[in-house]
Symmetry: C2
Subunit: 276 residues, 2 copies
Amino acid sequence: MLAADIGGGSLLIAWQLKGKKVLIIGGGEVAGQRVESILSTDAHITVISLFCNLHEKTQKLISQYPLRTKLLDKMYEHGADSTDLLNYDMVLTALDDFELSKTICHFCREHRIPVNAADIPGLCDFYFGSQIRDGPLQIMISTNGNGPKLANLVKGKIAKALSGQEGAAIKKVGALRVKLRERAPGVGGELGKRRMSWMTKLCKEWTMEELGTLNEENMQMLLDEGWENDKVPSAKALGVKPLSICVPSSNDVVFPGFIGFCVGIACVTTWNWLRR
Amino acid sequence: MLAADIGGGSLLIAWQLKGKKVLIIGGGEVAGQRVESILSTDAHITVISLFCNLHEKTQKLISQYPLRTKLLDKMYEHGADSTDLLNYDMVLTALDDFELSKTICHFCREHRIPVNAADIPGLCDFYFGSQIRDGPLQIMISTNGNGPKLANLVKGKIAKALSGQEGAAIKKVGALRVKLRERAPGVGGELGKRRMSWMTKLCKEWTMEELGTLNEENMQMLLDEGWENDKVPSAKALGVKPLSICVPSSNDVVFPGFIGFCVGIACVTTWNWLRR
């Protein structure tokens, strides 16, 4: 394969913002979307915008999360405010003023502050994309700048393919891993390998829907009967019943079933009629 | 909703590395995975590692992409080499030496160089995740540090839900957008809005599989008969036949059909038997 065949993409990454400071310059609708995106992390958010310019959504989010967000009720002025940018770990501009946005971007890039300017892709360190969130599970769909409409179509397909138990499964497996480490503590070595291979086997043999339904009692049984005997019991053996299994939609089952039913009737009727 | 309910996640972003310089410190298996990840972008990659320590995969990728990758055949020495780090736009460590990795991370964070250290999540600016790539379409699955096994299970579900025509659809829609801009040029205004709403309507009414099958001739017809008459003809009307349509797998159809068939036969037979 040539490099040209594999290149051309972005590096999709999960940026960590726990305890970090993010500045959003602007208060319109896009600024509101940015506030929402950053709220999914544990960052502190500052919005610079005149209060009167705040979009309804932006205003609502700021008043809804007073401990996570702060409004600086003023217009951003480059020069007077630019050194303040250095106090932030990420800067997002959502301005109608293209020139101002460009100036901010150049300043940020010069000082290695990760920056995204809405509508000026050429100046962005990174792009946003369509997202799906289910607790610890996050999925991002990027079309590499080819528009959000198609990303949303793909998002719809993906959302339909998930049972909604994936986030729960990830949480439960995390909790089980903690319990297992308490029971068989230590870092690395043979025990570490055994722990890892047992968890891997469990994740292979159980469905995500079964994993998502684990409770304290099942986990205890899984460790007592499974880990201690170096085996992975089936979900059924432990009495774990998934809340919702990802089955084909009812139409996908009912329609072929109905057609089969009619064909069955037609066959027997024809057979009986021919026999007469 | 409380902030606690929506927080706790990462910011999933598409980082832009076109023309940027990425340094990978280490040459083992993980370094190879890093080289592979970065090759999907258009960055220049430098690997620091003794040649004799290179994993087979890392070595192969470096020799396969000589224009995109460079090997510095030496051990990384912090102090002597640390100022060199400032020449890079991103640093990834894949070392067994935890202390060295930590030192590099602290240096990078101090100098705002985006950094990822394999196996030291607490020090990373960002994490990698499971990925799906189909040309311009990129999908990332993150479990927020809850392990790659479950991310891969989710990846499997997603891959199954896609028809494989999504990347092609995104490319074709991009090409059509360029043609439409040539035919109806100009930025913003009424024409800009009409262009956008026509493209939106097309993406809504056609399936991704139909969009993915567009060719030069269809595109011309779509613009001549559709855009010029301010309507979106159906794919069928233009003779566009999708190469592969995402239908339920044969088992999903055959099994309910067979059950229905059996039930049909059983019903008629019972009915006939009761009538005797």
